[in-house]
């Protein structure tokens, strides 16, 4: 126990929220990520870019626990979370949004948000309560749910089935669900995929607005957007980190030009 | 309650409905909790019809036997209804018990509660029959089961159950005697691993022990009920065939047919005589094909026998259905006839009265004079030993009788039955 604490203290020196250490994932012969060392500071807006097959989503899956790592470790808030289940990681503050909107389509908007909110409160009530006390009677949970519905602007449609929402609202709900788990770090996997220009802008505005306090990790293809939003950018290529830096540094990096953008300017 | 034109009639209806149910009667006032007194079924001397419930497993594994039994039942009812000797008519409904005791009881409830049956008959499988045994006692209706399990008129007997089916104990008697006399006392067994198989093993063993001091059980193999592959057992039996005088098989139905068919293909009966309990059933012979040839079997019934009015029964049966009766047809037939005799004798259709009358009453049956004896209400049927032989034409093995035991000789002693009546 004591040893662990020392370890933890060491790791949390500085204000690093997420750190991966030589993270490797192999699928059979194929190495999807190869010894990735990623460090993300608290409060940062970090984007991850790279060509198809670079290992971006795999990296996300390793950080969130959706896939077990072949080798290496993931530290969150200085703690080794490599062997924790996805849900455990969510509880420690890692939220995730998905490429394709991934909400509970058959439930109402309110239920969607409440479920996430409830996950947070889980330890505050005992087992029997959780079995028998109707959800409507948990005040703090419902208040928080309403607050979030307000923030994502879906309070008016709270009692509609999520499936019935227009596409853009679904994405808003998706973000609301993530927000309701009160994450410290949010991973966004292409939140604007399949959106029109206007929708993209709205979504980004929303993310910026409601998640301003959180650390954000974003996979995005729209380079322009990435350049505009990010504090730092990590470029992956063939499972390895090719470059890391501020948007300006990345734009000026010839390796990036070469590998990611196809060596156009050779 | 007195509203309406016929308070009297309505009260009668209510009473009937209640007494037909599982509970006996009424005392006390509306809204009270009381302790209902026993109330006798009102005897009415004056009746034209008697309601029977015929419960058979029309679907499932025993459905052919069910059909066979049902034809016997129908024939008996037809004859009784046409006969002047009985001044009442039997009305009946059929119920499909499937293979499941739960369904059987439900159907019995339907017959008794909904359709007002006072007499029920049927069921082939012993677990269904045992469930109905209990039901008959609880509901005070007379029941004539179609299963051979010893405990039906043994440990689980009760005063409402009368069995014309020959029990495993009776068959074991003739099998044991004949086997010990003709084949020897070194026996290997193969049984189906359930109640019927175990009871054959027990009954034959007890009797062999009492007949011969040198009796020895060479070995027992057990197969799951419903097994369809007996190669491994046949190999094991063949291995000990030199040490044993005979193989006793405690199986019935499809299990036995398949066993005989496979044993026949392996030529097992050339190595060791095979003695079965029900190999003489036509259904088994039909299923086993030439596998049945040259095997021995206890015989509960074959159409050829010349006892009582059997030949009249066979003729009538053949005329009606174009086919010879077999074991279950005669059980269905005689169960109805004997109960009808009881009703005539009692002059009542009250099941309790009829049950009292039936116990120990003499009947003329296809086996000649017979009775449900008082100590266990089991019919005193004669039993035979037979051999299944290759027929002159066709595939179906013929049964040749080898030895007969009278009802007296075959029946176990009253004190050994486990029945306390």
């Amino acid at each position: 126990m004591a040893m662990e604490t020392t370890e933890t203290n060491q790791r949390s020196a500085g204000d690093t929220i997420l750190e991966t250490e030589d993270l490797v994932k192999k699928f059979g012969q194929f190495t999807a990520t190869d010894r990735i060392n990623l460090t993300v500071e608290r409060g940062e807006f970090r984007s991850i870019i790279g060509p198809n097959g670079a290992g971006k989503t795999t990296l996300f899956n390793l950080i969130t626990g959706a896939l077990p790592a072949t080798d290496g470790a993931v530290y969150f808030d200085g703690e080794d979370i490599t062997s924790l289940s996805p849900s455990e990681r969510v509880r420690r503050g890692i939220g995730r949004s998905f490429q394709i909107s991934n909400i509970f389509g058959g439930l109402t908007v309110r239920e969607n948000v409440r479920l996430a909110s409830q996950s947070l409160d889980r330890d505050q009530y005992n087992f029997l309560q959780s079995l028998f006390k109707p959800t409507g009677r948990y005040d703090s949970m419902n208040e928080r749910t309403d607050r979030i519905l307000d923030r994502i602007g879906l309070r008016d449609v709270a009692d509609e089935t999520a499936d019935a929402l227009p596409y853009g609202d679904k994405r808003r709900l998706e973000i609301g669900v993530v927000l309701a788990t009160e994450p410290d770090l949010v991973l966004f996997d292409e939140p604007t995929a399949g959106m029109s220009v206007e929708e993209t802008q709205e979504t980004i505005d929303l993310i910026e607005e409601v998640l301003v306090d959180q650390t954000l990790l974003l996979i995005e293809h729209d380079i322009e957007l990435v350049m505009e939003l990010s504090d730092h950018i990590t470029v992956l290529n063939r499972g390895e980190i090719l470059a890391e830096g501020t948007p300006n540094e990345i734009a000026a990096n010839s390796d990036v030009q070469d590998a990611y953008l196809g060596g156009m300017m050779e | 309650m007195t509203r309406g034109g016929k308070p009297q009639g309505r009260r009668r209806d209510v009473l009937k409905a209640i007494t037909a149910g599982s509970v006996a009667g009424i005392t006390g006032l509306a809204g009270c909790v009381g302790d209902p007194d026993e109330m006798e079924n009102g005897d009415d001397d004056d009746f034209d019809t008697v309601q029977f419930g015929v419960l058979e497993p029309f679907t499932g594994e025993f459905s052919d036997l069910a059909e066979e039994r049902h034809q016997g039942t129908e024939l008996a009812i037809e004859q009784i209804n046409e006969s002047d000797e009985y001044d009442f008519e039997i009305e009946y409904d059929d119920y499909d018990t499937q293979l499941d005791p739960a369904t059987a009881t439900q159907r019995a409830e339907q017959a008794v509660q909904s359709d007002g049956a006072q007499f029920i008959t049927g069921c082939i499988s012993s677990s269904a029959a045992l469930a109905i045994n209990d039901f008959a006692l609880e509901n005070e209706v007379v029941y004539t089961p179609g299963a051979a399990d010893t405990s039906i008129t043994g440990a689980n007997c009760n005063e409402y159950v009368f069995r014309f089916e020959t029990s495993t104990a009776q068959i074991a008697e003739v099998m044991a005697q004949w086997t010990a006399d003709e084949l020897g006392d070194q026996i290997v067994y193969h049984i189906a691993d359930y109640a019927y198989g175990e009871s054959v093993l027990n009954e034959v063993e007890t009797r062999m022990e009492s007949i011969s001091d040198d009796y020895e059980q060479v070995g027992v193999t057990r197969s799951d009920p419903g097994s369809t592959d007996f190669e491994a057992f046949i190999s094991q039996i063949a291995d000990v065939s030199d040490e044993a005088d005979a193989l006793v098989v405690g199986m019935t139905g499809a299990d036995l047919a398949i066993f005989l068919s496979q044993a026949g293909a392996r030529g097992l009966q050339d190595e060791i005589p095979i003695v079965t309990t029900t190999g003489s059933f036509r259904a088994v012979r039909a299923g086993a094909g030439d596998g049945a040839y040259n095997t021995y079997s206890g015989v509960r019934y074959i159409p050829d026998i010349d006892t009582g009015d059997n030949q009249e029964f066979v003729e009538a049966y053949e005329a009606e259905y174009g086919d010879l009766p077999d074991n279950f047809s005669r059980v269905g037939y005689e169960s109805i006839r004997m109960v009808a005799n009881g009703i005539r004798e009692a002059g009542s259709r009250n099941p309790s009265t009829v049950a009292e009358t039936l116990s120990g009453m003499e009947h003329d049956t296809i086996f000649g004079p017979n009775e449900f004896r008082e100590c266990d209400q089991q019919a005193m049927n004669p039993v035979w030993m037979g051999e299944c032989v290759e027929p002159d034409s066709g595939e179906l093995a013929d049964v040749e009788l080898l030895e007969e035991l009278t009802g007296e000789e075959a029946a176990p002693d009253c004190e050994d039955t486990g029945c306390e009546l």
């Binding site: 989503t57 959780s130 | 369809t228």
Partner: protein, 654 residues
């Protein structure tokens, strides 16, 4: 001593080869179409009956002709089944194929009864195949040798067909990547019928050669289908090689165990199946296939206003409470008996719905818990205490505990594999009931009596009478209220649970398990809890039955009952709690009415069920919503909600 070893081997191979033929078709059908064909056993039986129809009039030598003609006919039937019943379901959750083919089992089985009559019949084989041979001290019949050789040749021919012909290549490719086969311009969908027909024909061949070896009977299909599944699961769903190895393995293991360890026979294949599913869910030779998407279609409850629904429910309960009062005037006491049956099975169906409709776990072995409850009550009453309360309490606790254990082992495998493993557990239990002394073996336990109280204080139902006006409520009628009370209490409790945080999580799992994980729920734990609650309720249902009926028999745990309760849930509408209760009512109502007309009522029921699975998968409760648009003339949801294909979101790579 070599013969000592060879004899069981030869014996085992005989049956093993038949298993191979049976399992090969089943497995290839799954590989290409992802259809689990429960009706395979019936096609097997049909093969034997067609052969019988040919051999009987023409004599033994027609056997050889039958060996080719009958499979052809069954193959054609297989094609028709694929074309008209299976095809409309592609794209839905593969569990619907299980449901559909279960319905087909009921239909085909009754058709066999109708056409050929019940009973075991011997299928005569030609003279040339009779007699025995003795080699190396091994005794075997010529027919055994014929089975091994002919079956071996057939299996080899199928293998060669798969390996070396154009069709075989296409079928193998189809079981690996259907879309790519389409991309190559090959109409793989057209081959589905062929594959189904071929699988059916193989089953028919197995049926014929086994028919000659055993007997032919309408039950022969039911008796082989479970072992066939075990083999396919062992070998790996979709793998021909797996079917061959699995079939021979099971044949030999069974035979060897009969010789050396007879106590395990019957149980061992299920233990083997459970072990394989837990350690290597894809079986010995199975390959990783993509989990087929497609949601389970739950009933829609949103048709009526909540207020109206509440009033309707109260009205229904009031009506139900009045039932015993009409006995003797409006109807006989049998009405109460029938209603008790419906209530108990309604409770059983409700228990299944709680896991199936809310967490998507389709348990094919729920009769296990029903049987467990029944036996727990019976054993308690016989050996521990005659108190009904103690017995029922124990039944609930024991069922819940075993459900926890089964759930602990099973829930980690999903979908079709979960269905299979629960089936294996139920069969294991069913087998144990036969073997154990405490369960009374094959006959079960009888003559059980009880009182309603604790520590020797309390009346039996037969001793009490309540009098309401002219009607006396005693015995059966009082028990009716106990059962009804249990059902209503269970309904209210489960409904309350679904409105609690726990229930919300269950619903979220049904909607989208992955998302549920990523908002912080350990879904396995929630599913297991739901399974425990479901098991406890099923145990309560079984316990109530035994309490009333006074006996317990192994048939309570028979797999057909697990199937029937699924039928009830689907008929009513899964995921609604009340739908399955309605389903139970309709099921028994139909049975009650139909048995009055024909012993072949399962034919009608099966047909209705098949039509439900195809056309009204959301059950009866969805009927008003389905009809509403037509009645009011407005446009509503189409009759067939098209589930969007699930795009797997956690992928290996981006």
């Amino acid at each position: 001593m070599i013969t000592g070893f060879l004899q069981p081997l030869v014996d085992g191979l005989t049956i093993g080869v038949v298993y191979v033929l049976l399992a090969a078709g089943l497995s290839v059908i799954f590989g290409v179409m992802h259809v689990i064909n429960f009706a395979h056993g019936e096609l097997f039986a049909l093969g034997a009956y067609f052969a019988l129809a040919l051999v009987v009039p023409f004599g033994g030598t027609a056997f050889f002709a039958a060996l080719f003609i009958a499979p052809l006919l069954v193959g054609i039937i297989g094609v028709a089944i694929e074309r008209y019943t299976v095809r409309p379901l592609y794209g839905r959750n593969p569990l619907y194929h299980i449901l559909l083919t279960f319905g087909l089992v009921l239909v085909i089985n009754d058709l066999i009864y109708l056409v050929w009559q019940p009973g075991n019949v011997n299928l005569p084989v030609p003279e040339i195949l009779t007699g025995t041979i003795n080699v190396l001290g091994i005794n075997a019949s010529v027919y055994n040798m014929f089975i091994i050789v002919f079956g071996g040749v057939m299996a080899f021919a199928v293998w060669a067909m798969l390996e070396y012909t154009k069709y075989g290549l296409i079928i193998r490719a189809g079981s690996q990547d259907r879309q790519m086969v389409r991309n190559l311009g090959i109409d793989i969908d057209r081959y589905y019928s062929l594959v189904f027909g071929m699988g059916a024909a193989l089953a028919a061949v197995a049926g014929i050669i086994l028919g000659g070896y055993q007997t032919v009977s309408p039950e022969m299909g039911m008796s082989v289908i479970i072992p066939a599944f075990v083999i396919v699961v062992l070998g790996g769903l979709g793998s021909f090689k797996g079917a061959v190895v699995g079939g021979l393995l099971v044949g030999v293991i069974q035979t060897v165990l009969r010789t050396y360890a007879p106590i395990f026979e019957g149980m061992v294949i299920f233990l083997l199946m459970i072990a394989v599913l837990l350690l290597r869910p894809r079986g010995l030779f199975g390959v990783e296939t993509e989990e087929e998407g497609g949601e389970l279609l739950t009933g829609s409850g949103g048709f009526l206003e909540p207020q109206t629904r509440k009033q309707l429910a109260i009205g229904m309960i009031a009506l139900l409470a009045l039932v015993p009062l009409g006995v003797g005037t409006l109807y006989s006491a049998y009405a109460v008996t029938l209603m008790i049956e419906i209530i108990i099975w309604g409770l059983f169906a409700l228990s299944l719905d709680f896991v199936m409709g809310y967490t998507g776990l389709v348990s094919l072995g729920h009769a296990l818990f029903y049987g467990l409850g029944a036996y727990a009550v019976a054993i308690t009453l016989l050996h521990v205490s005659q108190s009904a309360f103690i017995a029922i309490g124990l039944a609930i606790v024991i069922s819940a505990a075993i459900a926890w254990f089964v759930g602990f082992l099973s829930i980690r495998v999903g979908g079709v594999y979960f269905a299979m493993i629960t089936l294996a557990f139920a069969e294991l239990f069913y087998n144990m009931l036969y073997r154990l002394d405490i369960t009374g073996g094959s006959e079960g336990l009888f003559g059980i009596s009880t009182y309603y109280g604790i520590a020797g204080m309390g009346p039996t139902l037969g001793d009490i009478g309540f009098y309401v006006g002219p009607v006396a409520l005693t015995g059966q009628s009082l028990f009716y209220y106990i059962a009804l009370g249990a059902l209503i209490a269970s309904f209210l409790i489960t409904r309350r649970m679904l409105n609690s945080p726990f229930g919300s999580v269950l619903k979220s799992i049904r909607e989208n398990e992955q998302r549920s994980t990523f908002i912080g729920y350990e879904t396995t734990i929630y599913k297991r809890r739901a399974f425990v609650i479901s098991g406890a309720l099923a145990g309560l249902a079984g316990g109530l039955f035994t309490l009333n009926a006074g006996y317990a028999t192994p048939s309570f745990a028979y797999w057909l009952h697990s199937g029937e309760v699924i039928v009830m849930v689907i008929l009513g509408g899964m995921g609604t709690l009340y739908g399955p209760i309605i389903g139970a009512g309709v099921f028994f109502g139909l049975e009650e009415i139909l048995t009055g007309f024909t012993a072949r009522w399962r034919l009608v029921l099966g047909t209705i069920f098949v039509l439900f699975v195809i056309f009204l998968p959301r059950g009866l409760v969805s009927l008003p919503a389905q009809l509403a648009p037509y009645v009011s003339g407005g446009s509503g949801p189409g009759p067939e909600p098209e589930p969007a294909p699930d795009e797997p979101s956690v992928r290996g790579d981006d």
